[in-house]
């Protein structure tokens, strides 16, 4: 079974999706929950059987089913972590969909299909198989936003579909060129292939067009707030939790190792866009009156920290970017769930309609507090580990970028704490909001595992870093040939002469 565990993890939700289409709504909920729980169990087996420090690519399988490409799966530590994130969030999403009453079977089928495709994206080892999985996610997501979304769902679904499609088709042409040049569709081989530097630049731009939209980076992020606001709660969780990670995964799996020189050449573009994104979207988040929009804009800001970490070209930056991605997947997913909890009760996302919820919903307020703090990056939560690593990594590359990206943490504290104050503290302005009951058992079951994971990642991040360490070291070695010189001029510590050692601290203290 272990030889085909990845195929099995793809097959279970696919079969579940077909089953959901054939049965009535009530049964479909059960089928979907069972299918996602089986995948979660398989995911746990996958993690426990993953040989940390062993072969770089594990659980490989290959079946030459098609002409031109093959059914080739396999994972490294990076893919493992993202698959774990997907299978962990899926059962929670199914539980969060209790308020869906329209076309339940199709809804569950769309989600299960999404799960299969997400696992497929992270596990694919064939370039074209990756592309098919990557693009196929558009169809279920389009339907999820369009059928079960809010008022402006149609506009949001079009925007989501066409933006991401335009980005991806250019990547397809780049892939065709690469395969023609390198003569293979095997991703691990392509990761070692040295493309001519001039060609790398064009290829990098084509891949960037796709991943920047998926990520999303400023200024092509505008589909995200629309899609988030209009998607149902579970759709937002999957969108923020896993779909956004496809962009970051694309950078770390394709752009960086396949085009290291071009990545170094264009790093300033990424830095510039990310710096703008951190400041601008944080400020936009500050003035939102819609909770989901606020969290959506905060996602863009957090993803900008991921991109600066990735293009820092060092181990800390890469590790930090990965941890921010995992942490953001958990935290923003949880925040959307928190919004969903009160949205289900009052059917509004207007922040002003709530207030003083810590009085009538103390358990809810506690969880919401934890996730707010994790989003801000409080030590002992997952957010701190990732942001600290990413910023310390980018500091070696450019202190200015670190400075501007660092303001994101402060602004993040600003808008998240402001949000929390308006929702949970203060007076109970509205009688209907004051009468809302506290978390139900189902909602507790949804939020508690995420809270545990957030604390685990914050207190002992080694569990999550260990599987990725070897892959990130290999990537770092691959990038070393093109690494641009940083402006930090770090020198090895000299224990007796402590003066130089304080330089980073002084810099931090300057603002």
């Amino acid at each position: 079974m272990l030889n085909h565990i990845l195929s099995l993890m793809l097959a279970v939700p696919l079969l579940g999706a077909v089953a959901c289409l054939l049965v009535d709504g009530r049964t479909a909920r059960t089928v979907a929950l069972v299918a996602t729980l089986i995948d979660l169990a398989l995911g746990i087996v996958l993690w426990s059987q993953f040989d940390v420090g062993g072969a770089r690519w594990q659980f490989q399988e290959n079946a030459a089913l098609f002409a031109g490409f093959s059914w080739k799966l396999g994972i490294d530590g990076i893919a493992l972590m993202l698959i774990e994130l997907s299978v962990f969030l899926m059962p929670i999403c199914i539980l969060a969909s209790a308020s869906i009453e329209k076309r339940v079977g199709e809804y569950m089928a769309a989600f299960l299909l999404m799960e299969a495709l997400m696992i497929g994206v992270f596990a694919a080892q064939d370039l074209y198989l990756f592309y098919i999985m990557f693009e196929a996610g558009l169809i279920p997501m389009y339907l999820i936003i369009g059928i079960w979304g809010g008022v402006d769902r149609i506009y949001a679904s079009y925007k989501f579909f066409l933006y991401t499609l335009l980005g991806s088709v250019l990547m397809l042409i780049a892939m065709l060129w690469m395969v023609n040049e390198a003569g293979t569709t095997d991703i691990p081989t392509l990761m070692e292939y040295n493309f001519p530097v001039e060609a790398q630049k064009w290829l990098w731009l084509a891949f960037f067009a796709s991943f920047a939209v998926k990520m999303p980076m400023w200024p092509v992020h505008t589909w995200l707030p629309d899609a988030h606001v209009q998607a149902p709660t579970a759709g937002s969780v999957i969108l923020a939790g896993v779909l956004l990670k496809m962009g970051g995964y694309g950078f770390i799996r394709f752009s960086l190792p396949m085009f290291p020189e071009a990545s170094a050449h264009f790093a300033w573009v990424v830095f510039a866009l990310s710096m703008i994104a951190v400041v601008v979207t944080s400020l936009i988040a500050l003035v939102q009156s819609d909770m989901k929009k606020l969290i959506a804009y905060s996602s863009v800001a957090h993803m900008a920290i991921v991109t600066v970490g990735l293009f820092a070209f060092n181990v800390q930056g890469l590790e930090g970017a990965m941890i921010v991605m995992l942490s953001h997947g958990l935290v923003s997913g949880a925040l959307f769930l928190c919004v969903g909890v009160i949205y289900d009760r009052l059917h509004t996302r207007e922040i002003n309609r709530y207030g003083g919820l810590s009085i009538n919903m103390p358990k809810y307020a506690l969880f919401f507090m934890l996730f707010t703090m994790a989003s801000v990056g409080l030590p002992a939560t997952s957010g701190f580990v990732g942001e600290f690593l990413a910023l310390s990594g980018v500091y070696q590359a450019s202190s200015w970028v670190a400075f501007v990206a660092g303001t994101g943490v402060i602004l993040g504290a600003g808008y998240m704490l402001y949000l929390y104050r308006r929702i949970a503290f203060g007076e109970q302005k509205n009688a209907d909001a004051a009468a809302m009951p506290d978390l139900s058992a189902r909602e507790l079951v949804m939020l508690a595992p995420i809270a545990a994971a957030v604390l685990w990642m914050g207190v002992y991040p080694e569990s999550f870093l260990a599987p990725m360490r070897q892959d990130i070291a290999a990537l770092d070695a691959r990038l070393s040939q093109a690494r641009p010189e940083g402006d930090a001029k770090l020198t090895a510590g000299k224990p007796k002469a402590a003066g130089e050692h304080h330089e980073p601290a002084q810099h931090e203290g300057a603002h």
Binding site: A67, G68, I132, G146, L176, W177
Partner: protein, 488 residues
């Protein structure tokens, strides 16, 4: 070269012509709808036998001198056989869906299957032609039958109008084509493809260039490539839906295969003479097909623009002028036929409570709430036409773009694929209307089992399961393309 050998090679065309004549005679005695149905089934059986004759040639990858009949006027190589398989399948499907449609308007007559058989025989000659005159005979045999088919519902104004428009514009295109043929003959001294290729080896004179241009313009009309596409939406909308299905599938395959053979065999020694024309037609078809479809209210017109759009993508494979490009086109054609049949059969199945056809896009609003399977199949066809993976339509686009990139036509590939996003917009619109809008509850009536079976078959073909066929399909197409380039 003996006559028995030649007669053996044209066996499918002989069979179709003789069967057409016999069934025409039989239809003189056909009184009731039941008789007409029986004749339809006989015609389908004839097509199946013809397919059984050509299948070994397609699978065997036959090519070279032993496939030439009648002193090099006609060839039954793997390329022609592959195209014929697609044509017979498409023609068979258009026959099967017809009775249920025409009986509703009391317009079914046994002449329908007979005309389809004659048109199919003409298409067989088109794809097998290795001489400009054989080409013209095949083309006219197909066209004359097609004009009558377009006007088959003689009491319906739209159908009569479609037939007249098709005839007038088709006659004009035939004239352009003949003019090109005469110029080509005048400047090369031969009408045989091999002879033209040899004569052009040393260079293209201005006169011969005019000949190439006019021949391609005439053929562009038949494949409805921009700028010769104007007739397509009107004819597709006006003709009875089974006839539209036929027009959009079988003659498209035949005309495209013919264009491939003319371009790659007859003018194959001077690729640069026609490559620009094909690149222009490809990009213009993609863009015009996509932009034109956006404002359409009638689903048949929308599918007409979609077919113009798809022809543009197919021509990208021709522009590459490589065996990989030709093989890519053939794979795409097979998928295109399945998508077209699936799309039009789904349209045929849209009926209101009185059994009348529903053709307005607004009328299928909310279809997914009461006709789940039908809406899902139509949505699959739309996503597949848009080329969104994991549906099989993606593979067709993928192989032609792959060939274009391999041939170094990178700008063409980039512009073409970027324009495909415009096309995605209107395909999405249909899905949006069916899934996101409030139900209009217009299309409620169920259709007969043949429609359902055909829709299920084409939906299965364009589903992700279709990728399992890529090896078989790719092998057949590669053998067919090799036959084409062997002769060149």
């Amino acid at each position: 070269m003996d006559w028995s050998q030649s007669l053996r090679l044209v066996a499918p065309e002989e069979l179709l012509s003789v069967a057409g004549l016999v069934l025409l005679l039989g239809s003189a005695w056909a009184k009731t709808a039941r008789d007409a149905r029986a004749i339809t089934w006989l015609a389908v059986a004839t097509l199946a036998v013809a397919a059984a004759i050509v299948a070994p040639w397609a699978f065997g990858g036959v090519r070279g001198a032993e496939t030439l009949a009648f002193y090099g006027l006609f060839t039954a190589d793997a390329f022609a056989s592959y195209a014929k398989l697609l044509i017979y399948a498409a023609a068979g499907a258009s026959l099967l869906i017809a009775p249920a449609f025409f009986e509703r308007v009391r317009g079914y007559r046994p002449e329908y299957p007979v005309l389809v058989l004659f048109a199919t025989a003409g298409m067989g000659i088109m794809v097998s032609a290795t001489n400009l005159l054989t080409l013209y005979i095949g083309l006219e045999l197909n066209s004359l039958a097609a004009y009558v088919l377009a006007a088959f519902l003689k009491d319906d104004d739209r159908s009569a109008e479609a037939g007249l428009k098709y005839f007038v514009l088709g006659a004009l295109a035939s004239g352009i084509l003949l003019f090109g043929i005469s110029l080509t003959y005048g400047f090369t001294g031969t009408t045989s493809f091999a002879g033209i290729s040899a004569a052009l080896q040393s260079g293209v004179s201005t006169g011969a260039l005019f000949g190439v241009t006019f021949v391609l313009a005439g053929l562009a009309f038949k494949i409805s490539a921009v700028p010769f596409h104007m007739w397509t939406p009107d004819v597709y909308e006006g003709a009875p839906t089974p006839v539209t299905t036929f027009f959009a599938s079988a003659p498209k395959v035949a005309a495209l295969a013919l264009t491939m053979r003319v371009a790659l065999e007859a003018f194959g020694s001077q690729v640069s003479a026609w490559q620009q024309i094909v690149i222009f037609a490809a990009l213009a078809s993609i863009v015009v097909g996509a932009l034109g479809a956006i404002g359409q209210q009638n689903i048949k017109r929308l599918l007409a623009y979609s077919s113009i759009n798809n022809v543009g993508f197919l021509l990208i494979g021709l522009a590459a002028a490589t065996p990989a490009g030709a093989a890519g086109m053939l794979v795409y054609l097979a998928i295109y036929v399945a998508m077209t049949i699936g799309g039009f059969v789904a349209v045929l199945m849209l009926k209101d409570e009185n059994g009348n056809q529903v053709e307005q896009i607004a009328d299928i609003a909310g279809l997914s709430s009461h006709r789940k399977v039908l809406a899902a199949c139509l949505a699959m066809v739309m996503f597949s036409l848009a080329g969104i993976p994991p549906l099989f339509g993606f593979w067709g686009k993928f192989v032609v773009f792959q060939a274009a990139v391999e041939a170094g036509l990178l700008p063409l590939a980039v512009i073409g694929i970027a324009a495909s996003v415009i096309g995605a917009f209107y395909y999405l619109k249909v899905v949006k209307v069916m899934y996101f809008d409030e139900p209009a509850m217009k299309a409620v009536r169920h259709s007969d089992w043949i429609h359902q079976a055909l829709l299920a078959a084409s939906a299965l073909f364009i589903s992700p399961a279709g990728y399992l066929l890529t090896k078989c399909l790719g092998g057949l197409a590669a053998a067919a393309a090799a036959a084409l380039f062997h002769a060149a």
